[in-house]
Amino acid sequence: MIRHLFKLIWNKKGAHSLLIIEIWASFMVLFGVLSLIIYNFTNYLQPIGFSYDRVWVVDLSNNQDTVGVAAKNQRIFDMISAYTEVESASRMSNNTPFSANQMNNNVTYNKISAVPDMYETDDNLYETLDLKLLAGRWYRKEDQVSKFRPVVLNKVLAEKFFQDENPLGKILSKEDKKPFKVVGIVDTFKAKGEFMSNAPAIFVQNESMSDWVQPILIRTRPGTDATFEARLVKDIAALAPGWGIEVSYMTESRQNRHKLTLIPVIIFLIISGFLLTNVALGLFGILNLNISRRRSEIGLRRAMGATGWNVTLQILGEMWTLSLFSILIGLLFAVQFPLLHVFDLAAGVYLWAMVAALLTIFVIVTLCAWYPGQQAARIHPATALHEE
């Protein structure tokens, strides 16, 4: 029967070409959307690697004020650290979690080179963000006298450089600057939120945080509210008149980040939903037309011994065969993505997207063919055979 269906489709491939193209296009669109969704979903499943509840980011700008900037920075930071409402405060480079800023740098070990996201931070970040150390320790004040700059890597970067070797104590080179020494390994650090991939990251100790105006991260005590925020802003303004002060809650910036990821996905989903609905309706129409054109063939098959169910199954089978045909063509295109590394996605993501797109197509096609198939089974053979 399968061979029979194949012949039937093959011999009519000219008439079916439009359908084949439609199903192929639907498959490709689905493959794209599902790749995106699966990519984001697998990312989402990996832990973010730090805790952001109760963490505020104070962004400062000295504007035109250039007098005693370092001293003002230090005073502001000391003041913030001293509040009873503050559990921990820390300073880091501008690429704070959930911000739009990014920074990366080339780092080399033994001819293996990588471009991790780089975070320059003080010694407190570990505590403020509650990072998960897997091995070693965070850098501390004593490290400053060393001839190497202490760094902490995340696990993916450590694996990239050292595979199974113990990463602790290894020296990394960074162009003509002071080389790095690995003192600790953290698990994941997805600074742009849950939907970000677990990309290589490196934390570098910066001993001169006061020299520049840097964002300050504050972990507040539970129950701290906007009254403290107001006081904080007022106190900073008193220390550094004319400076810009902006306080944001990480929970809120995280939501904004999520929207940035999810909105394109949702837009894509809606567009492809429309597209698929159109294709499905078209398919349904074509099938209905097809069946009214093939009444005598259906009558004949019934006379030759086909049951009603055989007829339904044939209509379904033809559509499945046709879909398989289109999907095979689609797969030829789809496999190029992992093979040519078109985007920096894991091959597994594409594979799952292919499987999911294939299943979705089959479900849609089955739904579209079901009713026409039932109608075909209800055709009265004696009547159908005497038309024409």
């Binding site: 012949k7 039937l8 011999n11 004949l300 006379a303 011994g305 086909a306 055989n310 004696a382 005497h386």
Partner: protein, 220 residues
């Protein structure tokens, strides 16, 4: 073999009621070659459809091999059609998108058989109607007579005991018609029971028995 008792067929549409057959009593013996004649619209096709289990009588019973089939379900009827009956139609009803060989194989698709077995049986059936040299042709590449021979091959491929032919020569000229009738006579002599509707007295004379219908009733 086929036994119709007091068969009546009424077609009902929303507005009209047509009495297509009334009080038909007909017994067709094994290996008989029976022809049915009558004016257009007298119910010949209706009668053949009932014998072929494609339609159910409104009244009366239809027996096949002594078994009444009135209460048979779709599946059982389909199976009987597949195993016991072969159909030939005036307009051939070949599937244009399938080759001659694939057309002939169709009845075998609805029973257990391997692809090789199907191919072999279809080839044999085509040989029997003298078309072994046209197996990979498509229906549109054949003449009317050849098409009807393909249809006959399709009707006999499953080795049915009964062949029901509704005006098999109606679309053919007399030379081709004679050829088709000769094939049917040959099949009959090999043991097939045949019921054929025809408009041609000469053809009817070459069968064992003639049944005449007029306005849905048997007149002979």
């Amino acid at each position: 073999m086929i036994h119709l008792k007091n068969v009546e067929k009424v077609y009902r549409t929303s507005s009209i009621e047509t009495l297509a057959l009334s009080n038909i009593n007909l017994h067709i013996q094994k290996k008989e070659f029976v022809s049915i004649m009558g004016p257009s619209g007298c119910g010949k096709s209706t009668l053949l459809n009932i014998m072929g289990l494609l339609d159910a009588p409104s009244q009366g019973t239809m027996e096949l091999d002594g078994n009444p089939v009135n209460n048979f379900q779709d599946k059982a009827l389909a199976r009987l059609r597949n195993e016991k009956l072969g159909f030939i139609f005036q307009s051939f009803h070949l599937i244009n998108d399938l080759s001659v060989l694939d057309n002939v194989e169709i009845p075998l698709l609805y029973r257990r058989s391997s692809a090789r077995e199907r191919r072999l049986l279809a080839q044999q059936a085509l040989e029997k109607v003298g078309l072994s040299n046209r197996m990979s042709h498509f229906p549109r590449q054949l003449s009317g007579g050849q098409k009807q021979r393909v249809a006959i091959a399709r009707a006999i491929v499953g080795r049915p005991e009964i062949i029901l032919a509704d005006e098999p020569t109606g679309n053919l000229d007399s030379a081709m018609g004679n050829e088709i009738l000769s094939i049917l006579q040959q099949l009959n002599s090999e043991g097939a029971t045949i019921v054929m509707v025809t408009h041609d007295e000469a053809m009817a004379k070459r069968t064992h028995r003639l049944v005449r219908l007029f306005d849905g009733s048997q007149v002979l």
